[in-house]
Symmetry: C2
Subunit: 268 residues, 2 copies
């Protein structure tokens, strides 16, 4: 773990890190906020959306103010490996760099590095326990990162205590961003283990109620984001889930910042 | 006033605007946050530092959360005119575009557009009164923008009710950033009316206590930022001023976000 910069923030520290990640076999970047003068017991893992790096959430969300007086840290990883030049990796915003989709790729080239599922579930979890001494982990994420939070949390309810998703992609195997990404990363392999709706149908459950926040003025609603389908599936299979429609909010970090206080009330 | 984008934020609206500004004779960009469902009575004008646009403060400061339940809006203008190509305007980060220094330039070329002092004191004030219906105005700023807040507030205590400065440049005529900028914008004209320490010595006063926040781990402390000199001058001339040393904080927006709750307690 190499600390690249650190800024005192609300009595704690916002810190940027780089580390060699076994799962991706690349250097990965991270941002953390650790409240000051406390024993840290819990971590929120924040998974960002398309085009983001480790910086977006930590600079725009205002989470430092909300966690300042708690014993909960936050960790925000980058959204893909970097520093590679795989075929097609840097050609579009919704595939390759900045768009890891939290899957373990199986296609040529990508399978050696694009292993963001394992990176979060193994490397990051180990780091949080061993380097930061955290004992309880929650997942939060936005859009592609909301998909990541749902899939990682449903597949590892033993590791991740709670799932909160802001405007998540809930059925990537049926919607455009997801179809493009899953085709590129998984090809003909089974996509179902990376689709939250399919995971529910396959019997995966999380013991805690899953919290979903969705703005009503989100431009991606309907086409990419189909919260009703997840809601309906959860109801059918008996997965506790609370979908909050947020009147007038869009897909931006202004939406995330605005709903974060309510989202964290369930976590910290 | 053309609205370029708007995002619901903490029940209010974060909005980006463009307008034709008489003082600069260019299109100027602005960001505002207006709390929801309230009659707005007061505005905080936020003046940003070197390299910033209208976006930095409004995306990074977390001020929306702090003003959400008040009748105070915030307005953050860009830090210079844009869209020009004057000699030397885009060659360095500390002069020309992104570095207007809140002066009315007198040098060739610049005098026709780089009139950020008048832009704030006239154009922006008129806009706030007529377009937004605000009756009370406060100034806040950071670094170069802290200098702007001090100079504008000391010269127009009738217009600006209160001055709060984060890590301000207090004596630009004596420190490197200021010397470069004032030479470029003012040449041989008198610099004293754009130097907060000199304004105090020339008899300018503000009836309210001036609040200054300064991080102790600020890399620019000493060389560019000399808070003790302003403090001492204020004491000598009888200007009420409160300098808060903020232990461990640097020059970043993490510092601003962290101290903003305390700074706003005096304002809203």
């Amino acid at each position: 773990m190499e600390k690249t910069k650190s800024h005192k923030t609300f009595g704690g520290q916002t810190t940027f890190w780089k580390h060699q990640a076994p799962s991706t076999n690349t250097v990965m970047s991270l941002a953390t906020f650790i409240p000051g003068g406390r024993e840290i017991g819990e971590a929120v893992i924040w998974l960002s959306g398309l085009t983001c790096t480790e910086e977006n959430f930590i600079t725009k969300s205002g989470i430092q103010h909300l966690l300042a007086d708690t014993n909960t840290m936050v960790i925000a990883p980058d959204t893909s490996p970097r520093g590679l030049s795989l075929p097609g990796e840097h050609d579009s915003y919704d595939f390759g760099s900045g768009a890891g989709f939290y899957v373990d790729a199986t296609t040529d080239g990508y399978r050696d590095h694009y292993r963001m599922f394992s990176y979060i579930a193994c490397d990051l979890v180990q780091l949080l326990k061993e380097h930061f001494g955290v004992t309880r982990l929650s997942l939060m994420g936005h859009s592609m990162g909301g998909h990541g939070a749902l899939v990682l949390g449903l597949r590892h309810p033993d590791i991740f205590h709670r799932i909160t998703a802001f405007a998540p992609i809930v059925n990537p195997s049926q919607t455009p961003w997801g179809i493009k990404a899953l085709k590129g990363y998984l090809g003909d392999s089974d996509w179902g283990d990376y689709d939250a709706c399919q995971l529910l149908r396959r019997g995966y459950r999380h013991p805690q109620e899953i919290a979903i926040f969705q703005g009503t003025k989100d431009d991606f609603l309907g086409n990419q984001l189909q919260q009703e389908i997840f809601q309906q599936t959860a109801q059918e299979v008996g997965q506790p889930c609370r979908l909050s429609w947020c009147e007038g909010y869009d897909h931006s970090y202004y939406f995330i910042a605005s709903l974060l206080p309510e989202a964290l009330r369930g976590v910290v």
